[in-house]
């Protein structure tokens, strides 16, 4: 197992190298990184020339990539070409905000999704099953941005009509409030619900399908035949095995979301990693965009690896060698 993990990590280094190089070439050919500065009439041409010189912007793109890579690795992701501020503090701050929202949402979604999936499968074709299967179909078809907008409209309306503030519809905190305060909860509740509904639809569908697969398998019939009590069959034989594919999906989904829930964060103007990316992109802050792309690629590769390892650990029939 350890050699497998080591090999995967070693293999991901050239992948990251290649993908960051491609992104870099792509980003640098597509626009002038100093475009925003150039359009500012108060910056003299000489300054621009100096800035370009100091950041090696006149060199061929391959060289520039290595300059950028050196800064990225040795200088904590380097500095923005737009503001000349270091990138790392922004990344650090926003990714923690994203992690808070995403982890709360995913925990809720997994608990609810697994529970609903179990009951749907045990009581197949019951009213409960039909209700939640339809709901998860709906949740699956619902674009995140629409759900977010609906929640936002609803709570703006509630505030305007009755002047009660249940949840805030944008931002992260009122002034002077901390990371784990009621105020923060009121702010992140709606993004959490938005993310949770979408993930819940995914997990409950997976859990139900995987439960049904296991319920009809031979070893469950054997367990029943030798007289194991029904609840014990379900908890010991069925649920445990049915969880295996769900854990994998959850790991992959978590990896995708931790890289910034771009749409949700943008709707609720949440100071997360995805919103940071959108703002950098709008400002043509190319090195910040590059930092985002590299960090999210690392997260995705990491969670792919975690998913595979956990799968191999939970299901002894899978062997990596």
């Amino acid at each position: 197992m350890l050699t497998y993990i080591a090999r995967r990590i070693l293999y991901s280094i050239p992948v990251l190298f290649l993908s960051s190089f491609l992104s870099f070439v792509f980003v640098s050919y597509a626009g002038n990184p100093l475009g925003n500065l150039r359009s500012n009439p108060r910056i003299p041409a000489n300054t621009l020339r100096l800035v370009a010189e100091r950041n090696h912007l006149n060199d061929p793109v391959v060289l520039r990539y290595f300059y950028w890579l050196k800064d990225f690795v040795t200088d904590k992701m380097g500095k923005s070409l737009l503001t000349f501020q270091p990138i790392w503090p922004d990344v650090h701050r926003t990714i923690l905000h994203t992690a808070q929202v995403v982890l709360i949402a995913e925990c809720l979604a997994i608990i609810l999704g697994v529970a609903v999936g179990i009951f749907s499968a045990i009581r197949q074709y019951s009213v409960f099953d039909y209700t939640f299967t339809s709901l998860s179909f709906l949740g699956y078809a619902m674009p995140t941005f629409w759900l977010g907008l609906l929640l936002q409209i609803l709570f703006v309306d509630i505030y305007l009509k009755w002047h009660v503030r249940i949840f805030y519809t944008s931002g992260l905190n009122n002034i002077g409030q901390g990371t784990w305060s009621l105020d923060r909860l009121q702010h992140i509740a709606l993004p959490v619900v938005t993310l949770c509904v979408v993930s819940f639809a995914l997990y409950s569908r997976y859990m139900r399908a995987s439960m049904l697969d296991v319920i009809n398998s031979d070893y469950v019939r054997t367990a029943r035949a030798k007289g194991v009590a029904e609840w014990r069959v379900v908890t010991r034989h069925v649920v445990r095995n049915a969880l295996i594919p769900v854990v994998t999906v959850a790991a992959l989904n978590l990896g995708g979301l931790l890289g910034g829930a771009i749409v949700t964060e943008t709707i609720f103007t949440l100071d997360g990693f995805g919103y940071y990316f959108i703002q950098s992109l709008q400002n043509s802050d190319f090195y910040a965009v590059m930092a985002y792309l590299v960090v999210t690629s690392v997260i995705i590769i990491l969670f792919n690896l975690i998913a595979d390892v956990v799968y191999g650990y939970l299901d002894p029939r899978i062997r990596y060698d």
Binding site: V15, L18, S19, S23, F26, V27, A30, G31, Q124, T133, F137, L138, Y140, A141, M142, P143, T144, F145, W146, L149, L150, Q152, I153, V156, D157, L160, R205, R208, A209, L212, D213, N216, G256, G259, G260, I262, V263, T266, I267, F277, I278, L281, Q282, V289, Y292, L293, T296, S297, I300, I301, N304
Partner: protein, 330 residues
Amino acid sequence: MTDSPTPVPPAAQVAPPEQTIDGMVVAPATFGEDSTVAAGLEVAVRSQWDYARRRFLRHRLAMIGFVGLVIIFGAGIFANWVAPYRPTDIDLNNILHAPAVAGQHYFGTDDTGRDYLSRVIYGIRTSLEVGVTVAFVSSIVGLIIGAIAGYYGGLIDNLLMRLTDLVLTLPALAVLLTAAALLGQGSQWRLTFILAGFFWTGIARVVRGVFLSLREKEYVEAAKASGAGDARIMFRHILPNTLGPIVVNATISVAAAIITEAALSFLGFGVNPLTTPSLGGLLSSAQANPQQWWLTIFPGLTIVLITLCVNFLGDGLRDALDPSQRRVRA
């Protein structure tokens, strides 16, 4: 998902009311009257496609999805005739008019008095064009890459699959946004091809898998022995076996492309909202008027309906095109 034969409880064997596949209720596949043979020994000859068509027509949800899509996409295709107004007609006397039958604005009007129903219908047209083109182009690209990788194997396979892995490890939405922002520049067709550049990986993997397993079959060997070239074997002998998964995958990717395009337009990096109304663009501009609920409800509801119908249709096609389903009538 998997089509392992589900044991049918004894009571159900007498009169099977319904067969479930992946949580979907499927109408029982029984012998049609014409094949139970009135005349005695003759049995109507049916091809694989006949069976597929029959299974599809009996799939209730798939038919609902199909009819729903015909209506929604029909409105989009014939937008010029269906829409009551042109999407760009400005009526400054009727700004932010709530939906009403009386004023002939069934979906209300937006902040410059444009008829919202017309804008949604033209938005459907944009979504449809993007979705179908992306599905088509990405299927062709995925098909070719998957076929070459699976058929030739070895180094070529390794290279092509590493390329696929590379695309899959990129954060899709972020790269799409970057590409759309830098290359798309609001053009619908540029955006379509950017999307297609990310959608081919799924098809490529499926096709490769089928090619890998089928190229060792006896009939392929026979074709080789009788002097068929590589291209003929690939496209004439193996390809038809991959059509089922390809059709299902393409159907689902229509919905995925429509949602992705809407997300890009919503974030302001998609189709230029000034020239082309799109469902995501409409939702984006609706954010300026959160009090006018209809501006948000109708485009979003349209996207949800399209996605639901496409998913139903895709599930039905998957069940219908799976030849192993024949066991149902055995």
